[in-house]
């Protein structure tokens, strides 16, 4: 289909999920992602799916856990305070080796915060998906088209690695409108996973979905298995984009909405003779360390641009291995950066 439609990020992501085969959505209202459950409520019946509004985000993630145990393509979405409530459930989903998709449209925080955009849940996504050693695969779109595509592509990735996949975006990406090329709606595959419960057993041995292992050797073996699958994910699903000059003076590091700001800044800086390049991680976990490591040797500095006090910058510092200074341009709490401010601060640094 070559036609494009104008959609907001929230709607595009929801439609992408349906196109990718999502047939079960459980969620709860929270700004700035309310259009996602609303879209699901309206469109799930068209594909014979189920929209159920839960009584809380705590219930939402447990509804997801139940549906995931049957092998279904299931999703929930929320924003920062609601994601905090889902951390327990994410730990159980990780420990039980189940697939699902979780969307976080990040808002200002901590606490109740505000409904403006922020990127202060980087740690929550990549470090804080509940207690324990689980790794929640995390991907960060930077456009409405990417939100749509990840809405669909997150499901087979979750199934392949038997883990939750978090789509991390923000209140701005969620509510801005851009032209989207829509995917054709596909059916999910039949629920025939060898671990899935429910339905008629017809004599097959019974199956247990569990994260309780009081035998510590068994618990460690489960963790080892999770780690091996994560290593496979790191080998296959690490993604990033590079944009800008091939011989840059410095490199921007940014994801999501900040990557859009940096791309504009790069174009305008080029007009002034300042050469910059952007490394835009698309997978945040697994983190694309290699481009940072390689470019850090060739530039004067890496400039991290994020809407937080400095979370993403830690992974950039780790990846660049002290080969060059790593600076931070930031706002947080819902205050937004602009290309003008980024350019001004960069010029101060140079």
């Amino acid at each position: 289909m070559s036609e494009r439609v104008l959609m907001t990020g929230n709607e595009a992501l929801a439609e992408g999920a349906i196109a990718g085969g999502c047939r079960y959505f459980f969620g709860y209202p929270i700004t700035p992602q309310n259009a996602i459950p609303q879209y699901m409520a309206e469109h799930m019946p068209e594909v014979g799916g189920v929209y159920l509004q839960a009584e809380s985000e705590l219930a939402s993630i447990n509804l997801v856990y139940g549906a995931a145990s049957t092998g279904a393509y299931v999703m929930t979405s929320s924003s920062s305070p609601g994601i905090s409530l889902m951390q327990e459930g994410l730990s159980y989903i990780l420990g039980s080796e189940l697939p699902c998709v979780v969307v976080n449209m990040v808002r200002g925080g901590p606490g109740l915060g505000n409904i403006s955009a922020a990127q202060s849940d980087y740690w929550l996504a990549t470090r804080g998906a509940g207690h324990g050693d689980g790794r929640c695969l995390t991907f960060a779109p930077h456009s409405v088209q990417e939100l749509h595509d990840w809405g669909a592509d997150a499901f087979p990735i979750a199934q392949k690695y038997r883990a939750p996949v978090m789509i991390l975006a923000d209140g701005l990406l969620a509510n801005m409108a851009e032209a989207v090329r829509l995917r054709e709606r596909q059916e999910p595959p039949p629920r025939t996973q060898e671990w899935a419960v429910g339905g008629e057993r017809n004599g097959r041995p019974r199956r247990i979905i569990n994260s309780l292992w009081t035998d510590v050797e068994v618990m460690e073996a489960v963790n080892r298995r999770m780690a091996e699958r994560f290593e496979q994910a790191a080998a296959n699903e690490t993604r990033w984009e590079e944009y800008g000059d091939d011989s840059p003076d410095f490199v921007f590091a940014a994801y999501g909405i900040c990557a859009r700001i940096c791309k504009t800044a790069i174009d305008r800086l080029a007009e002034e003779g300042i050469r910059a390049r952007l490394i835009r991680p698309i997978s945040l976990l697994p983190f694309p360390a290699r481009p940072f490591y390689e470019w850090a040797e060739r530039v004067s500095r890496i400039v991290c641009v994020e809407l937080s006090l400095g979370q993403f910058i830690e992974d950039v510092r780790l990846a660049s291995a002290c080969r060059c200074p790593v600076e931070l341009i930031w706002h947080t709490g819902g205050v937004l950066l602009t290309p003008e401010e980024v350019m001004a601060r960069v010029k101060e640094m140079l």
């Binding site: 189920v50 159920l52 839960a54 219930a59 856990y65 139940g66 049957t70 429910g198 979905i209």
Partner: protein, 255 residues
């Protein structure tokens, strides 16, 4: 008088129900979890549901229930059983789904989940094991602990001025239209065990019939943390627990 059934020489007069595995249970001597498991397992066998049932094991002494019920099983986080059960039922309505929850799991941390499942008329069955204490964690006060009952967190006895009165879960849920079958039973003598079995059967039948939410509260013993022997525990249920928690069928969709 009904005709007595003839039992052939050598034929067993009692066996483990097909709904139970052969795994030896960990429960304490005198604990009525064993009886509750057995009754559920017998009902699943009688109604021919074993092959399409998912048991939701929950947090408490019930945490190992997935080892004992001869069905698929999913372990839920503390209190979340009814939400997990709902997720499965919404994907696979033909699957029989039940939770097995203690009073800490259901009436403390999980109260919202069970009320909302009932409010939605969710077509699941809940076995609610009420023994007035947190058992697995060694004897703290629960919402259903009796006034004056000593526990590790009410060493001087439960004081309603500090901790409120015991929670009456069936009475709370009885007001909800989505409930198809709701009963409080116990298992302290053959008569009450038979009544408990009858209520458990009606509860699962209501799920098979698609009638709505079902819950059977089973007033149970905890000899370990009541610091009583099994016989004293049964007596304490009869003499004290049943005064607070009267046995009753609250809602019957067929009545």
């Amino acid at each position: 008088m009904a005709e007595a059934k003839q039992i052939a020489e050598g034929e067993p007069i009692y066996r483990r129900p097909a709904g139970l595995t052969e795994t030896q249970m960990r429960y304490c001597p005198g604990c009525t979890h064993g009886t509750a498991h057995k009754l559920i397992a017998e009902v699943l066998e009688e109604l021919e549901l074993i092959d399409r049932t998912v048991a939701i094991a929950t947090v408490g002494c019930s945490v190992y229930a997935y080892e004992y019920f001869n069905t698929d099983a999913v372990e839920a986080a503390h209190g979340r059983g009814p939400a997990v059960a709902t997720g499965i039922k919404r994907v696979s309505p033909e699957t029989i789904v039940f939770t097995y929850q203690g009073d800490g799991d259901l009436a403390a941390i999980g109260l919202s989940e069970v009320i909302h499942a009932a409010q939605r008329g969710e077509n699941i069955t809940v076995a609610f094991i009420n023994n007035a204490v947190f058992g697995m964690t060694r004897g703290q006060m629960a919402p259903t602990t009796l006034v004056g009952q000593k526990t590790t967190t009410t060493p001087l006895g439960r004081d309603p001025k500090l901790a409120g009165m015991p929670m009456m879960v069936c009475e709370l849920l009885a007001t909800i239209p989505g409930v198809a079958y709701l009963a409080r039973e116990t298992m302290i003598d053959p008569h009450t065990v038979r009544n408990a079995r009858r209520s458990i059967k009606k509860a699962f039948q209501s799920q098979v019939d698609g009638a709505g939410f079902s819950l059977v509260e089973l007033v149970s013993t905890c000899p370990a943390w009541w610091h009583k022997d099994p016989i004293e525990s049964m007596a304490w249920v009869r003499d004290e627990m049943l005064k607070q928690y009267p046995l009753k069928v609250f809602v019957d969709y067929e009545a």
